[in-house]
């Protein structure tokens, strides 16, 4: 990933070079690159004057951050309690099977990243699968294939 020092610095400046804004800065960087590139973390460390180990510490502690590049589409399967009792884990397995990857990984062609989330708070319409921010309500094992096809060529 070609990381522009200037764009990282712009995020740091946006948060007024404040150390306490570290998480917000990393969120902005991830929104831009879809993950946290190594160079960006190094740059944040230099600009903020926070030791790199602390930046990495924060980046690895929080679930929302990814240190690996993510695919063009991010499939998030909700595994909240309500989705769990309605079959969420089976749907996750089906996605894992069809994409040939485990949750947390990205397909070799870089099209899909498969992730899980502990709860999206849309329990009534579970099991829920979110793709690039679009909510798919009441999904089932059978709908997995159609969902993948729908995004494959997008």
């Amino acid at each position: 990933m070609d990381v522009q020092t200037e764009s990282v610095n712009a995020f740091v400046r946006k948060h007024k070079n404040q150390k306490k804004a570290l998480i917000a800065i990393l969120q902005d960087i991830q929104a831009e690159y879809k993950y946290l590139p190594r160079e960006a973390l190094q740059q944040v460390s230099r600009s903020l004057g926070v030791p790199l180990i602390d930046v990495i510490g924060v980046a690895t502690f929080y679930r929302a951050f990814s240190l690996k590049p993510r695919g063009r589409h991010v499939i998030t399967v909700c595994l909240g309690t309500a989705c769990h009792v309605r079959g969420g884990p089976k749907i996750l397995e089906e996605f894992e099977r069809r994409l040939g990857i485990a949750a947390g990984d990205t397909t070799g062609d870089g099209i899909f990243t498969l992730e899980t989330v502990a709860c999206l708070g849309c329990c009534a319409i579970g099991p829920v699968v979110v793709i690039d921010g679009d909510y798919h309500a009441q999904t089932s094992i059978r709908k997995a294939e159609a969902i993948i096809k729908q995004y494959m060529n997008k």
């Binding site: 502690f61 309690t81 329990c123 829920v128 309500a137």
Partner: protein, 633 residues
Amino acid sequence: MKAPAKLKTLKDLEQTIAAQKRQRATDERPVVTVSAGTCGRARGSLKVLDALNASLRKAKLDKKVNIRVTGCHGFCEAEPNLIIHPGGLFYQKVDPKHAEGIVVETIKNKKTIKSLLYKDPITGKSAAKEKTISFYKKQKRIVLGDNALIDPTRIDDYLAIGGYGTLAKVLSKMPPDKVIAEVKTSGLRGRGGAGFPTGLKWELARKQKAEPKSIICNADEGDPGAYMDRSLLEGNPHRVLEGMMIGAFAIGASEGVVFVRDEYPLAVKHVTMAIEALRERGLLGKNILGTGFDFDLQIAKGAGAFVCGEETAMIASIEGYVGEPRQRPPYPAEKGLNGKPTVINNVETWGTVPLILAKGGAWFAKIGTESSKGTKIFALVGKINNTGLVEVPMGTTLREVIYEIGGGIPGGKKFKAVQTGGPSGGCLPTSKLDLPIDYESLTAAGSIMGSGGMIVMDDKTCMVDLAKYFLNFLRDESCGKCISCREGTQRMYEIVTRIAEGKGKPDDIELLEELAQACKDASMCGLGQTAANPVLSTLRYFRKEFEAHIKEKRCPAGVCKSLIRYAVLPDKCTGCLSCKKACPNDCIHGTLREVHLIDQEKCIKCGACYEACRFEAVETQRDEAIVIMEGAR
């Protein structure tokens, strides 16, 4: 568009509220409210909105009807839904193709479209209005009810229902001590889980000398299965902010932070807009309304760590650190954000505050039970007919919530348990259905109130699997600071996993109980101290089910994969091919109108055939192979 004038005095605010109220009262157009919270949108409410607007234009009625896009109306099962005023007609599960009919039949000809009405799952009768729908009848929606009256993106809508009027009253007539006294009288306790008396917390912070003091709104709703805070922030953000401003005034705080989950994009958006609107009107900053009250608000977005719901971890996260809790005392009310006194309350608590100050603490204290006052919002989800957000007075029984409001269990299945309190809570069985819901009774029964998740389970839910689910969640979310929690949740997960796989040992239950106790005793924060609750409560009420897994290698609910197999029942199979088509592994044999057969060697137990069958011809059976193996030993 011209920026609205800044409100400089209390009188300015009061006049603006009066003007907005007047405008709403004199607007005689019919109002169609479209429920468009996250769930509604996921089910297509914005498409319904577009179709309605198009149909209104076509009928040349677009100037004569007021379309109000609101947050969630709480009845998630019936999404997308519309409420049409005057009259309060409630249409459920509306599709864009219904739009034209609604405009022509209902709005123009004042006729009810019967097919869009809610049908009671128990009596089978239709109900035309919100008030007559069983889901709403028993509720007392004093906190959540306003969601249906306002467009959350417009501050004017909130003003039109008297919003910020309570703030004006407080700033003009009530000294901070009186505000705190009123909250203490109300008996309000924290709605986030622990149930600490809100007034006491405020008083403690008020007494501190250090400045600047802060307040935080905990909108890091991490409990899986609870979403009332999301709904309130999405649907009525100003209500929460008004509560925060009143609280800030009472304790003398000049800074406020809304700590909100990033997994809730619509809530983030609406609360951001609400803060901008306040700033635009001059309701944030120095010397607000000329009263000398200084206060400002900002947003901090969570980065996905359940432990950040714990107040000291949340403060660490807002300060840009890893979200690890620290030892208390000192409590945040003494030393919190940036080392200064800080009051943290959750969304629902803040959202209740304006109501208490408007109507009085004594009024609020009349609702509920001796120790738990007011109403509580529950997220009624899982295997239940009427899924949704339910607001009831404390003391309502589980049975009333599940059967009278929730409409019972779908598909005629049997109630097995209800899980309350999220990962720190527990599972309560049928024998506890008549338990009145309050903080103490739930704790005594081995669960907790928590933030109000209520996940209903039928006999197809395995309690071992559920305990495994929560332990997996907790071992993942444990921050790792205390060994008892970090290793305890991991070991408990491993033990329950082996029980679920039919590899449990005879003394595993005792070992679990011992570990659970250690985790409870030796962990520092609430996460670790309560991490064993899901295990302990399932063991307490469903011990036989654990024993069946360990001794008989049997999963009575037919869930644990290693102990079951899928089979086709010859007398029920119609040979329709649905299961064969659904099977991702091509392991179902059979042709059209011929009984199908599952190749057990190839079957990966994904459950696709079970899901696909419309004749209940696929069932889960005890996996005999394991029993035979056991017998041979």
